[in-house]
Symmetry: C2
Subunit: 306 residues, 2 copies
Amino acid sequence: MGAGHEFDLIRRLERRWGPAAQGLGDDAAVLDVPAGSRLVVSTDTSVEGVHFRRDWLTTGEIGYRSSVAALSDLAAMAAEPLGMVVALTLPADLAEAIDDIGNGIADASRTARCPIVGGDLTRGDQLSLTVTVLGFSVHPVRRRGARPGQDIVVTGRLGGPGAALRALSEGRMPEPTHRERFARPVPRLREAGWLAQAGATAMIDISDGLAPEARHLAAASGLTMVIDLDVLPAMAGLDAAQAALSGEEYELLATVPAGPDLAAFAHAFGIPLTRIGAVQDGEATATFLRGGDRVDLAGGYDHFSP
Amino acid sequence: MGAGHEFDLIRRLERRWGPAAQGLGDDAAVLDVPAGSRLVVSTDTSVEGVHFRRDWLTTGEIGYRSSVAALSDLAAMAAEPLGMVVALTLPADLAEAIDDIGNGIADASRTARCPIVGGDLTRGDQLSLTVTVLGFSVHPVRRRGARPGQDIVVTGRLGGPGAALRALSEGRMPEPTHRERFARPVPRLREAGWLAQAGATAMIDISDGLAPEARHLAAASGLTMVIDLDVLPAMAGLDAAQAALSGEEYELLATVPAGPDLAAFAHAFGIPLTRIGAVQDGEATATFLRGGDRVDLAGGYDHFSP
């Protein structure tokens, strides 16, 4: 590519993003955190061949999903979005895909009402996106505040992304509803605000699967998370174990004071909120019950696994 | 690598970072921006084979330089550091280098007094670091505030990184002083604070070379930057053109009210501050003089250049 091409590509992205992008063009972005609020920050990298495959997703979907993976961390803290910065590493043969990737990022930005405030564009052998999200909250919800006797709740219906990935890796066409959940996850930002209002004491987003995330909450809070697989909200045709081990869901797992208004949540957001267990004193781990009996649920996603 | 190895590596980094790291372990970091200050954010990616070569730098230097490249953007805005998040993509054969890379990042963090508050670790084919820096300032200095009649000043002595890169690319050993400036640049954070106090109206860090950065300031401010190459502070043995086109300097180029106290700056920081020109009404570009005659200085660094 010729000299100045990097700047041309950046200008092309800026034109494409239009009002989704704000205040680009300086060495850094300048933002205002509302008085009385704390700043919440998270970064998330998506690498081709590790987090996504180009034959499984469109370039637009890659841009969208990579951004949602980061935005979902703001939801996990019950933070409101302030802005996002996008570092894009683009192989030379993908220079023409920049419009589609940019569209996908802008789509996530609009969905989350989180403007794109900065970024970096660089060449590399492997397509990679690192999205850093900035949010604010008076009282961010962390992983460690759970208390014995509280309810464990989860948003949405689980299993779709896992089922889609299983089909794709076996060379089958995934069910469209499963593929949609895999390719177009929704960051549960407004839902997180509702849960915080309902008194959520610990919260996490389900990126590695419900079972490992429940263990993270248990470890951070030093308590036992007892989860009843019989009531786990799975997508049609999927069993509870599939739902519990499906990653990249971007649904929220939270502990709340007993008896949240599940119907009000469903009415407000059009997705279920389900009570799937309770917090108990005991070993800092998650236990899973089926028909009242304890079952073993190993697994979960680790990018460094074979 | 076995399951859980990603978490093992993250724990290993956390142990290594010790007090340089703060508040890791949640979905996002929580920080406080001092009341009355604005938030300043920038992100910077360094990719192996594009921004650095493993045969030219140690892995520790790669971690250090990649972090300084981002921290320098806070200096360019005259922002004080608040925290940094580090997204590291590591090829499988470099897993053992994580300690050295982590040391380099921690070294930059300590140099800048900017704690590591979060990050992401992922596998990939190509070593890559995306560092996002967060800072604060009551009045961030942007690129666009220059006014006619103001002085143009630059910190330090230029040319070292360019000379080191030239030697390395020709298979020669670089001069140790040049290599040091290339491998161990210093983010000019305190110097930036001094320049802001001295009334700096526009500022930029020299990552692509003084000449192209002067053009950026000119374009943003809509004025002519007239720069006298005869007074450009070059490292020993280098000429003005080499100094003006050397990239990855991480020195600061600023416009200030005429007559800043250059001696006070040198006394405070042990590096020179040099008046190299003046801002004039006219075309939004930079012009370069040698012996009073205008000379053409093309070039500069573009990651998408051939």
